[in-house]
């Protein structure tokens, strides 16, 4: 009880010291909060996107096979059946043609997906706001942002350029639901043959193969066998796809590193400020405290509470602001980097669920270095000899 009372008294005194230099301490608090805000915004945005990816990318194909040549993806020849005949355990094999269509009029990139009408189940109709799935040549389902971007208005007919600049006509027969936007916002879904024609791919050429395996435990084995029978292919397994979002949003990305380095430099500056910032007045004050009976550890405790108050306020303030920024304002400050020059600017719903790991991680990145940086100055101020100062 006595120890608590003593700490509360010292905290009261620390608060008085902070208030006495309120402008300087406010500036430190603001910079410190801004750094934590930046770190936490990045971490929470990454958590939100990772959570969505973990939740919905659970039904990706077990294996995706793409042909590579000279380090680039190239069309896959459709004479793979014979090669696959010796691989057992494959439940379903689907062909797909997909790629990007660059709209020269406005600089947007659309993702064109071509699937054979028979390879899509009727259930996919539930993903449409209206209309039906493409059944025959010339029919296409578009996402609402694509319709807006192409300025189609109420029109249902439009044309796209093939690589030889001839026109290919399409009729929009449906539109994706808005709540599927995180997967479809830039999508044009058409028949496989239409997509092949749009990309001027030769008959029998595919973009990739989607393989479903009967026994999930055999995915890696079958992926290895596919890589053996189809040399030069990129074989991506479900596990690799699901782990992608853990890799791509990391502190080692360019922006992540900048945020981390910014915070490190901010802490160095704060530590330097603490280490060199004892004015003669402050030294005199410490000396008087020692004369009236304060011990070195009491002065260190005083410094500890000063740092703890600034650190905790900066951490909780910065973290709370970051949470509001990400959850209620869709991380608008990070968006210019996250979306870059994207013409189609999807607004993925970001709602990072509370994760203790995020909270502790940001706390560990902010409070602990700040407290650690103030230990030596606190000790130095506690070691001041009254007779040398007064």
């Amino acid at each position: 009880m006595k120890a608590i009372s003593k700490n509360l008294n010292i905290l009261d005194y620390a608060a008085s010291l902070l208030v006495r230099k309120k402008y300087k301490n406010m500036a430190v608090l603001l910079v410190f909060s801004a750094v934590i805000f930046l770190l936490a915004s990045l971490q929470l945005t990454a958590t939100a996107l990772r959570t969505v990816a973990d939740d919905i990318l659970t039904t990706v194909p077990d294996i995706t096979v793409q042909q590579m040549s000279a380090g680039r993806q190239v069309p896959l020849e459709a004479d793979y059946q014979q090669a696959f005949s010796g691989i057992f355990g494959i439940r379903e094999l689907r062909e797909r043609i997909w790629g990007y269509y660059f709209d020269e009029k406005n600089g947007a990139n659309y993702t064109v997906v071509g699937l054979a009408p028979g390879s899509v189940s009727g259930g996919l109709k539930d993903a449409l706001a209206w209309g039906r799935l493409p059944e025959k040549s010339g029919e296409v389902v578009l996402a609402a942002p694509v319709v807006d971007n192409m300025q189609l208005g109420q029109r249902r007919h439009f044309s796209l350029f093939r690589p030889d600049l001839s026109l290919q006509s399409f009729q929009m027969v449906g539109s994706f639901r808005q709540d599927t936007g995180i997967l479809t916002n830039d999508m044009m879904l058409m028949t496989q043959s239409d997509a092949g024609e749009l990309f001027a791919m030769a008959d029998g050429q595919l973009t990739d193969l989607l393989v479903d395996v009967a026994n999930p435990a055999e995915i890696d084995t079958i992926a290895g066998k596919i890589a053996d029978v189809l040399p030069g292919t990129r074989v991506v397994t479900k596990m690799q796809i699901q782990k992608t979002y853990d890799v791509v949003f990391s502190w080692r990305s360019g922006f992540g590193s900048i945020c981390l380095l910014t915070s490190v430099f901010a802490f160095i500056i704060l530590a330097w400020d603490k280490a060199s910032g004892f004015s003669p007045d402050e030294q005199k004050e410490m000396a008087i405290l020692k004369v009236v009976g304060w011990q070195t550890r009491d002065i260190m405790l005083l410094r500890f509470w000063e740092s703890a108050v600034v650190g905790l306020f900066a951490f909780l303030g910065g973290y709370t602001l970051a949470w509001i920024h990400v959850a209620f304002f869709d991380a608008f400050l990070l968006k210019p980097v996250m979306l870059g020059w994207s013409v189609l600017r999807p607004t993925p719903a970001l709602f990072p669920p509370f994760q203790l790991t995020d909270f502790v991680l940001i706390g560990a990145f902010s409070i602990i270095p700040y407290m650690a940086a103030t230990i030596v100055p606190a000790w130095k101020s506690g070691m001041v000899r009254p007779d040398s100062v007064i």
């Binding site: 990318l57 993702t111 996919l124 360019g254 306020f313 980097v337 996250m338």
Partner: protein, 94 residues
């Protein structure tokens, strides 16, 4: 009121605000979970491998089926220049 009590009150208020936001977002996440069946169906039927976040470059639109070399492939001595490329860490080559 003691200054220490005032400080404690302010910190507790901020912490409570965090808890309220956490609860609210948890509920929103639960609601999102109920909408996920349709998204999982889209992933399954279309074979989607990625989320639509950045649409400017193929390696940020579809990072799952990309690799670290793709940003430099447009021509010899090409440098990676899309802003979103700085947000995404390249996936290891497969």
């Amino acid at each position: 009121m003691r200054k220490s009590a005032f400080i404690g009150l302010l910190l507790a208020s901020l912490f409570c605000l965090d808890i309220f936001i956490g609860i609210y977002l948890g509920e929103r996440h639960e609601r999102f979970k109920s909408e996920q069946e349709i998204l999982r169906l889209v992933v399954k039927e279309l074979g989607s491998t990625d989320l639509v976040v950045a649409t400017e470059a193929r390696y940020t639109r579809h990072p799952s089926v990309s690799d670290g070399l793709v940003p430099f492939m447009d021509h010899p001595a090409d440098i990676e220049h899309f802003p979103s490329g700085s947000f995404y860490h390249p996936v290891p080559s497969r």
